[in-house]
């Protein structure tokens, strides 16, 4: 029996008007992502990779087509509603880490919990569990500018995991790291995938993309293989 996908994109088109010119960023893109998948989306700059990532991450809505998340079509949800869905279903890991510099490691990890329905008394416990998972339990009270690049990205991973989302969406997660630290982070993603987490890795780097179970190459707004 086939497992129901967590996320299905069906015939997604996305176009922009820039200076009176219509740009088709995505053309009829469809993809199914199943629980426990580790996939990568690879493409050059301008390929439509970022647009696709924004639609998967519910930061943007398609011009046409359906985005089905856990059986529900979320493509027409209003902004307030999408924010709630992002909070519970999507964990973002960014190239530039995007940590709050004035906040501690623990506070950074707790940030998504602020916008969730999790009772406040559970915040710290949940955040601590995630920090243990990324081996940062010793640095909970450090500010992000007191951490190394690799440590920062691990904080970001813990933050992405804290609401137990359906999908971890990593956008060039090693782009700001040296190769050694980068491979440690990739190892962390592989570990998390083994624990059952669904991971989507978005990158321009063909070699990096190969660590995923499935590789989708995007070019001119379409999957090429």
């Amino acid at each position: 029996m086939a497992v129901e996908p967590i996320l299905s994109l069906k015939n997604i088109n996305k176009s922009y008007q820039i200076g009176g010119q219509k740009i088709e960023a995505l053309k009829n893109v469809s993809i199914d992502i199943h629980p426990g998948d580790f996939i990568s989306i690879v493409g050059k700059s301008g390929s439509g990779k970022s647009t696709l990532m924004h639609i998967i991450g519910l930061l943007d809505t398609p011009t046409s087509g359906q985005v089905i998340l856990n059986g529900k079509d979320v493509s027409k949800y209003p902004e307030e509603h999408l924010a709630k869905v992002r909070n519970s279903e999507i964990g973002f890991v960014f190239q530039a880490f995007n940590l709050l510099s004035r906040a501690t490691t623990l506070e950074n990890v707790m940030l998504p919990l602020q916008y969730s329905n999790t009772p406040k008394k559970n915040w710290e416990r949940k955040a601590m569990e995630m920090l243990k998972l990324v081996d940062l339990q010793e640095r909970v009270n450090n500010k992000s500018n007191e951490l190394s690049g690799g440590q920062r990205q691990r904080v970001a991973i813990a933050r992405a995991l804290v609401n137990d989302p359906s999908i971890i969406l990593a956008d060039e997660p090693t782009g700001n790291l040296d190769s050694k630290t980068g491979s440690e982070i990739i190892k962390k993603f592989i570990e998390l995938n083994k624990l059952g987490k669904t991971i989507i890795l978005v990158t321009h780097d063909n070699d990096l993309a190969k660590i995923a179970d499935k590789v989708f190459v995007i070019k001119d707004g379409e999957f090429v293989k």
């Binding site: 902004e79 307030e80 924010a83 909070n87």
Partner: protein, 394 residues
Amino acid sequence: MIYELYLSAIRSLLSNKTRTFLTMLGIIIGVFAVITLIGVGEGIQNYVTKQFSSLGSNLLFVSPGKRNLRGDPGANFSSNKLDDKHVKLIETYSSDFVTGITPYIEIGKTLSYKNKNYYTVVNAFDEDGFSTYNLTLDSGRFFTRADITSNSRVVVLGSNILNELFSNQDPVGKNIKIGDKTFLIIGVAAEKGGSIDNRAYIPYTTAKSIFNIKNYSSIVMKALDSENVDSAMKRIEIALYRDLDKDEFTVLSQKDLLNSFSSILSTVTLGIGAIAAISLLVGGIGIMNIMLVTVTERTREIGLRKAVGATPNNIAIQFLIEATALSVLGGSIGIGLGILVAFLIRTYANFDATVPLWSVLLAFLFSACVGILFGTYPALKAAKKDPIEALRYE
């Protein structure tokens, strides 16, 4: 969540202390000015009320001209017709309502003793004037009917003049010059507090004859019964209509004077309030300006918060709290400084400046409103940011 947002607001304000302080300065100065000026205003009100009540509440005055306390005070004297005839009229027709009817002359003169000079107000009245003004003696005597009838050159000094001219030595029996005329000091009045202690008192007959004064500055008397002040005033008016037109005199009670003073003071207070409101407005614009800068600086943070689940409302509230924290903190500092200055004035200037609770609450409320009013636009701007653009922002 509000608590987290509040914490994050405080943290963000603390992370840039100089900027936070400079932004708050407008509000601090505005609120400080309001609190201090209200405190001083209350002090003046208390002082004046005390001065008036020390004279007794049933004091009545007949002034020349149509009294208009907001008009040109000089206008009242150009048509001054008050003289002995009117004192007699009041005595004849109002004596069952008033007592201690005394003509009253007020002149500015320089008092000199040996090589010391002191410019002050010299009051001239008859022997009843002392009781009308509730004055008592420290030493010597008041002038008597005999002094009045004989135009004696005698003077009773207010207690402050002792300090100024006699180094606190008892001056009774010594001669003093008022203008260029020599007077014998016969008494010193007991201290009453306030400007009344600066005055010198001479018989009105003497004032008329040697300073060549024709008319009285006013006629002062006391209502027999403080309940019947209004009837007494009516009676005096009727008596004076026998000789004067209604434009040529005014009967005033202590209460009238106090009321007109209060209305002047509230006009001044209103003016000060308007200036303070402008300064708060300027402070508010400062807050809006800095909040707009903050929103731009923290674009990436806004993008991140939206990505991890913040709704536009969550973002708007966060920045609104920050703006309000700025204005309320500034307002509180202003209130604190205002209370401190009122306290210093009370302690060192011997002037009863008190900050009423309502002014503190009003200032607090007002500064919170400034924060909300001027924080709304930047907060909405933050809430509307597109998360994708915001995350890309360098």
